[in-house]
């Protein structure tokens, strides 16, 4: 291992551009993946009771779970809730963030609250929200919004603050109205920040949805996992976890891709 390290550290910075090198990463990845699955399989077979999820049994459970209407319904419910929550979050978060970034008074008035709420572990509000909205889907939406909105606000505010001065001066010289400056200049200029916020917010929204489903016992992937693992159907429950992991990663990749695709100037120098 050590002799390879000396040799291969040199081409590291080129790896992103050079597709052949990226392809060569496939083999070690595959090997590592197989090794991880093997260790898991062997460890569970040797040490854990039969009901505990292991790769072979989970793989066997996948087709069954994916065609199970209960699971599909649960997935749909969770996804719809996350999408709805993120939609609301995006609209209000962007508006508040833009306002904060462009108005010093407003920023000073609410910045400590935004920072403070952002620092509160979001699960803490669940008991309160369940008092307010009952054991219902409203509580889930509220939790998702609470979990996600502050990340958006903070990032958009940072972005709006970082808009180059010249842009604003030019738009003032052309007598652009405040509103069109805000949505025509400031918003597009802070789009990379917004996307960074969205990436953060989406992960938190997913956690918020799952936690809310655990806590409230309302239908969704989180509840599906809870119910099946309680009844010792760990393999089925684990497919739910895989699905959630897939969403998490998928969203991350989607945001990264759209930054590279639509804002190629942003990434430069950010990651080497």
């Amino acid at each position: 291992m050590t002799d390879t390290a000396v040799r291969v550290t040199a081409p590291a910075p080129v790896a992103r551009k050079n597709w052949k090198l990226a392809d060569s990463a496939f083999v070690p990845r595959l090997i590592c993946g197989v090794v991880i699955l093997l260790i898991w399989e062997v460890a569970v077979r040797a040490l854990a009771p039969a009901y505990v999820a292991k790769p072979t049994t989970v793989a066997l459970a996948i087709p069954k779970v994916l065609t199970d209407p209960v699971f599909l319904k649960a997935t749909g419910e969770t996804l719809a809730a996350v999408a709805e929550g993120l939609g609301i979050t995006l609209v209000f978060g962007t508006i508040i963030g833009l306002w904060m970034g462009r108005s010093l008074t407003f920023d000073r008035a609410i910045r400590h609250y935004i920072n403070g709420f952002n620092a509160i572990p979001m699960i803490v509000v669940l008991p309160l929200f369940s008092l307010w909205f009952g054991y219902s889907t409203y509580t889930r939406i509220a939790t998702i919004i609470f979990a996600a909105i502050f990340a958006i606000i903070m990032n958009v505010a940072d972005g709006a603050r970082a808009v180059p001065r010249e842009y604003l001066e030019v738009s003032r010289a052309f007598r652009a109205s405040r509103l069109s400056v805000l949505f025509g200049v400031v918003l597009p200029a802070s789009l990379p920040y917004l996307l960074a916020g969205v990436r953060l917010a989406a992960g938190r929204a997913l956690i918020g949805a799952v936690v809310a489903e655990f806590f409230l016992s309302i239908g969704g992937v989180g509840y599906y996992i809870l119910y099946n693992s309680r009844s010792y159907h760990h393999n089925e429950a684990f497919v739910g976890v895989l699905l959630l992991a897939g969403f998490g990663v998928g969203f991350e990749l989607l945001v990264n891709w759209s930054i590279r695709r639509f804002m190629p100037w942003y990434r430069r120098g950010d990651k080497s």
């Binding site: 990463a25 070690p28 008991p127 309160l128 956690i207 959630l244």
Partner: protein
């Protein structure tokens, strides 16, 4: 001096004061089951502190948080550095770390519950799982930032492996690790509360759960206030740690 101080900090105090006033008014006009005013929350908080229930809860939670978090850093930092040095291993493992980093770890809590039960260890595992991946992920990310020339120069001067780690790897990677540490603090806090909610009920999580089950809205608000303040304090500490190390970062 006092006017300068006032000018700088007046907006802060004004906004805090306005917020508390708003809370007070909202609390007084709403039903007591939904919302309690700030004054009642303070009274309830004082009762919790005097009865001692608050401090035992705080100690329980702190023990859980610190154990899980220290374990996460103790595992994440060396492992991340190792991955940084052995490039082949890093390339192989990276996508899996990224996947786990993006996976909502809460989803594993039911499994941990049914396999490990209600002790202290499963809760530590939850906090650990929540916080280890940010540390690991950012350490590996930092390792990518090491310019290969530096290692080559060190090698051509016949630097020993240990000196290479100490003089090149560590200073280059640690600032990134600290970004991970800051993220991990926030996540560990979420993990702590989640563990206390869904595994055996102890600490601050139990304080808030108990209050909500007894429809003690004042207690709920008091606990949220305290946990919020702890969260803000920890975040601030994390930011200070990060900025302290960020001076090295390019």
């Amino acid at each position: 001096m006092p006017t300068a101080y006032l000018r700088r900090h007046a907006p802060f105090w004004l906004s805090i004061f306005a917020g508390l006033a708003l809370w007070e008014v909202a609390g007084r006009s709403a039903s007591a089951a939904f919302m309690v005013p700030f004054s009642t929350t303070l009274v309830r908080l004082w009762q919790l502190i005097v009865s001692g229930g608050f401090f035992t809860a705080l100690l329980d939670s702190a023990e859980l948080f610190v154990t899980g978090f220290v374990l996460a850093v103790a595992v994440g930092l060396p492992l991340g550095m190792l991955l940084a040095r052995v490039r082949l291993l890093r390339v192989g493992v990276e996508p899996y770390i990224m996947t786990l980093y993006a996976t909502p770890m809460v989803a594993l809590i039911p499994f941990i519950l049914s396999m490990m039960g209600f002790g202290f260890a499963p809760k530590v595992l939850v906090v650990f799982l929540f916080s280890v991946f940010p540390v690991l992920y950012n350490t590996v990310e930092g390792a990518r930032s090491i310019r290969p020339e530096l290692i080559e120069v060190a090698k051509s001067f016949r630097s020993s492996e240990w000196a290479l780690w100490r003089e090149v790897m560590l200073p280059y990677t640690v600032p990134y690790t600290m970004t991970g540490v800051r993220q991990a603090i926030g996540r560990a806090l979420v993990g702590m509360i989640a563990a206390e909610f869904f595994l055996s009920s102890t600490g601050l999580g139990q304080l808030i759960m108990g209050a909500s089950q007894n429809f003690d809205t004042g207690g709920v608000f008091a606990s949220i206030l305290i946990i919020g303040l702890i969260g803000v304090g920890l975040m601030r500490a994390g930011l200070m740690i990060e900025q302290h190390f960020a001076r090295w970062r390019q």
